[in-house]
């Protein structure tokens, strides 16, 4: 078997067309890794300077009322990730700027896609674009006549006469084509690792390893099916056109149709419905800015009783801050309900889409590629959650200062000094560890493995029916 693989590679290397295509393609891959990396670095700089600018504004506050500072708020910018230079996932269509302020959980806005006219339906020239769409086509082109040519030239018969079993021959052909894909994949990841050597962490390496595994399985499926078609059908053209048909259905048709269907099976509310429902629920709670609000009065009575005093002026604390925080906490329960509901729907959509991997392994590849490169919707939602947790901490710190910082109820002119504002930490995004989210992608990996096993079984039993001549 090893000898057949060696021979296959010898034939390939001798082919000038193959060498030409390989060199050209490796050059494009190299360019894509370099550009992807360069763009990520440049976006990182833009992100850093925006983050520093906004932080500088915050720490430069001389003096301000803490609740006014909650309205002044801050901004969080979606950070880029080193892994995104391999697969950008949803990053170009999600927003980049999120306002953090009191009383409201805002939505992330200003996506890259909204800042220009349409360019590419399949995204930027990232390695994932080439590895997902183009490399499988190259493997198809390499494999579609690998057995049929041998049949036509009579070499297949000769190999069998020399003692090679048809199954061995076919597996060798598959492995030699698959190894070509592996070589390209290894090349991309090696260049990426060299370029980012100093930034590599265990998490990045694990993610890259899993990324490698997903592509390895997908390339095996593509190589094996193509070689099998080449062996089963007399005509190389038929093998090529069938595989092109499969490639089109798997990569262009089905992902689009299944994703649209998943969105129809589990519909999200419209923005207006979403906002109206939140407004409705919010109106049932306490209004922090309205002292005459019934719930605010009830809270006042409760606090006065707790402190054993008759009026707000006798309180040792500032009740305004406490009312604002009560408003905030009620608001949080409303945001949790409605944003949480959206997250649940998105999760259901994702799960339904993942099941599409049963009929289309490309879906499993796409999901796992984005997921392991931390650029899918799951990671995006994780980022939004971290920002919302920060917002709650940020506003509570300000409201607590208003309450317990030494001012009296009604004294809105009371201000905190610069040291306090400097003491509030900035938002610090903690990248999600792969161990935490791995379970979400096990289905994708399992389906890719299942596809590989099914293909092997089909080849094992199907090879017996193959005519040698």
């Amino acid at each position: 078997m090893l000898q057949i693989i060696k021979n296959e590679w010898r034939f390939l290397i001798r082919s000038r067309i193959f060498l030409g295509i390989s060199i050209a393609f490796i050059s494009i891959l190299l360019v894509s890794v370099f550009l992807g990396n360069y763009q990520t670095r440049k976006q990182e700089q833009t992100h850093k300077s925006a983050k520093d600018h906004v932080r500088q504004q915050w720490v430069s506050i001389d003096e301000m009322n803490p609740h006014s500072a909650a309205h002044y708020g801050t901004y969080v910018f979606k950070p880029t990730n080193l892994l995104n230079s391999l697969d950008e996932g949803v990053n170009s269509v999600t927003g980049n700027v999120l306002r953090v302020e009191g009383h409201v959980q805002n939505e992330i806005v200003h996506s890259e896609a909204s800042q220009m006219q349409a360019i590419s339906r399949f995204g930027k020239l990232k390695p994932s674009l080439l590895l997902q769409y183009i490399v499988p086509l190259l493997l198809i082109f390499l494999a579609f006549n690998s057995v049929s040519d041998e049949k036509q030239s009579g070499r297949l018969k000769l190999l069998v006469l020399q003692g090679a079993k048809p199954l061995q021959i076919i597996l060798s052909k598959i492995l030699s084509v698959w190894l070509y894909g592996m070589m390209l994949l290894t090349f991309v990841l090696s260049v990426y690792s060299i370029l980012n050597f100093q930034s590599l962490t265990t998490d990045i390496l694990t993610r890259t390893g899993l990324f490698f595994l997903s592509y390895t399985l997908y390339y095996f499926i593509i190589s094996a099916i193509t070689v099998y078609f080449s062996a089963r059908w007399q005509n190389a053209t038929l093998a090529l056109t069938s595989m092109l048909g499969i490639w089109i259905i798997w990569t262009i048709f089905l992902p689009n149709i299944l994703m649209s269907s998943a969105e129809k099976w589990h519909p999200l509310p419209s923005r207006n419905q979403f906002q109206s429902a939140m407004k409705e629920d919010r109106s049932k709670g306490l209004d922090g800015h309205n002292p005459k609000d019934k719930r605010a009065i009830a809270l006042k009575e409760k606090v006065l009783k707790e402190y054993g005093v008759d009026s707000l002026s006798q309180l040792p604390i500032n009740f305004d801050g406490m009312r604002m925080q009560a408003d905030e906490e009620y608001g949080n329960s409303v945001w949790d309900k409605h944003f949480g509901n959206n997250r649940k729907i998105l999760r259901k959509q994702k799960q339904s889409f993942q099941l599409g991997g049963i009929v289309n392994p490309f879906i499993s590849l796409q999901n796992s590629s984005m997921g392991f490169m931390a650029s899918d919707n799951l990671h995006h939602q994780e980022f939004l959650l971290q920002v919302e947790n920060y917002r709650r901490f940020f506003i509570k710190t300000l409201n607590d200062k208003q309450t317990f910082g030494g001012s009296k109820t009604g004294n809105w002119r009371w201000k905190e000094d610069n040291a306090f504002f400097k003491s509030i930490p900035d938002f610090n995004y903690k990248p999600t560890q792969v161990s935490v989210i791995l379970s979400n992608y096990l289905l994708d990996l399992a389906l890719l493995i299942l596809w590989s096993i099914i293909v092997i079984v089909i080849i094992y039993f199907g090879t017996k029916k193959i005519q040698i001549v």
């Binding site: 550009l35 806005v109 200003h110 006219q117 349409a118 923005r271 998105l346 994702k350």
Partner: protein
């Protein structure tokens, strides 16, 4: 052999090729699916607009009831007084819509990147958070909706490939190509006639599909849009036919022709747009809206903290007629008027920041347009986006309209405050009429 005979021969060849028939059927099914996706979006947006109009009507009725009952405003908002221009205009419900064009049935374009309705207030700006796109799964948006234009721009070249790939190659491999040349007299004419046959077949398919799409929305109500789109699709089809014809003319066998055809499709559909996209992102990274943030925070504070003289000068500079009003001479009344008019100064500052941002976006778009000569797919995509009113420029026009409505709202409010206008039911209805124009 005349063209008609070649056409008849080709028809027989086509109907006896199940592979080609299945490919055409798949294309038709995908197109119909895409047309329905476009029509669904049209219906969704139209229904949402209808709902919001109803909501605005209800809001207006609520405010009118305050006038009827001689109330100042909502009971839980005691500081509101709808008889003053400030609160009356504050409570004048004004929605501005980007109404979907019926031609969206053919092409969704960038419709899913932007919001299509906006509630206009005095502090509104075309870059507010509520201008964000509809809530949707980003993974779906990233992979794009399978609309009719996607099927035509990306799958039609592949269908054409399936229909044409074995022209000449098949005859050459079977060894009767010289015989055909003798019969037809001209190699080019024979290949061209066969290619034209499939071009006509596809043109009729496209026309049929577009007519079917026209039954889903009122496409013919939009002047010439149907025929403009059909013209763009025809030119796009001819572009691919010419490329494939050249490959067939100079190609030697089926496999080599197929590989060249798929190679050129990959180049135009994937590689070139992706390279351009990457280049633009490097050249002009995503704008994080720092200028707008600065206006919303520091500049606003600056406007509120500046001296009264500076504020008055800036307000009079903006609206010179205010200087002649009685309020301008009244040292007590001017205080409230000045305070309420600061919104106008913030609006001016916001517009300055927005113009910088839009210049930046314009530069990006100009860079993209400069690549059209080597990036035909992006060119045709944007042409179709223009035809279906879903291009970036259409949303820019929508944003400009929003800004104009904000300007108008502020101008009326400031003018009526300084002229000490008392608002009654008639005046409130007038506000509704003027601000919703």
């Amino acid at each position: 052999m005349r063209s008609l005979s070649i056409f008849i021969y080709e028809w027989k060849h086509f109907v006896s090729s199940p592979f080609k028939i299945i490919a055409l059927l798949l294309f038709l099914i995908a197109s119909i699916y895409g047309l329905h996706n476009g029509a669904d979006l049209y219906m969704q947006q139209s229904n949402e607009i209808e709902r919001l109009n109803q909501k605005a009507k209800e809001e207006k009725e609520t405010i009118l009831s305050y006038f009827d009952k001689s109330e100042k405003g909502p009971k839980n908002r005691p500081w509101v007084d709808v008889t003053t221009p400030f609160w009356s205009i504050w409570y004048t419900p004004t929605y501005h819509f980007k109404k979907p064009s019926p031609t969206i049935v053919y092409n969704i374009g960038q419709a899913e990147q932007y919001g299509f309705y906006k509630k206009i207030g005095m502090y509104s700006s075309p870059y507010d958070a509520d201008m964000a796109k509809e809530i949707a799964n980003p993974e779906r948006i990233q992979s794009g909706t399978l609309d009719f234009s996607f099927v035509v721009l990306f799958l039609m070249p592949l269908l054409l490939l399936v229909l044409l790939y074995n022209i000449k190659g098949s005859e050459a491999e079977q060894g009767f190509l010289p015989l055909i040349f003798v019969q037809t007299g001209s190699k080019n004419w024979w290949i061209l006639s066969r290619t034209v046959f499939y071009t006509i077949l596809l043109l009729f398919s496209l026309l049929g599909l577009m007519l079917y799409g026209a039954t889903l929305t009122k496409v013919f109500e939009v002047d010439n849009a149907f025929w403009t789109i059909f013209l763009h699709l025809t030119i796009y089809l001819v572009f691919w036919v010419v490329l494939y014809f050249l490959i067939l003319k100079y190609g030697k066998n089926i496999i080599s022709n197929t590989l060249q055809m798929i190679g050129i499709w990959l180049l135009f559909a994937f590689i070139i747009p992706a390279v351009v996209h990457q280049w633009i992102s490097i050249e002009k990274p995503t704008n994080l809206m720092i200028d707008l943030i600065d206006i919303k925070r520091d500049k606003t504070d600056e406007i509120y903290e500046q001296s009264n003289t500076d504020t008055d000068n800036q307000i009079f500079n903006l609206y010179p007629s205010l200087k002649q009003t009685k309020t301008a001479q009244d040292t007590i009344a001017i205080k409230e008027a000045r305070n309420d008019s600061r919104i106008a100064l913030i609006n001016v500052a916001m517009k300055n920041a927005i113009s910088k941002l839009e210049e930046d976006n314009l530069t990006k778009n100009e860079l993209i347009s400069k690549t059209y000569w080597l990036n035909p797919l992006t060119y045709f995509q944007n042409k179709l986006n223009h035809s279906s009113k879903t291009h970036y420029d259409d949303y820019q026009t929508y944003r400009n309209d929003i800004q104009n409505l904000v300007d108008k709202r502020i101008k009326i409010m400031v003018s009526d405050i300084w002229n000490n206008v008392k608002v009654d039911k008639t005046k409130y209805l007038e506000y509704n009429k003027t601000l919703n124009k």
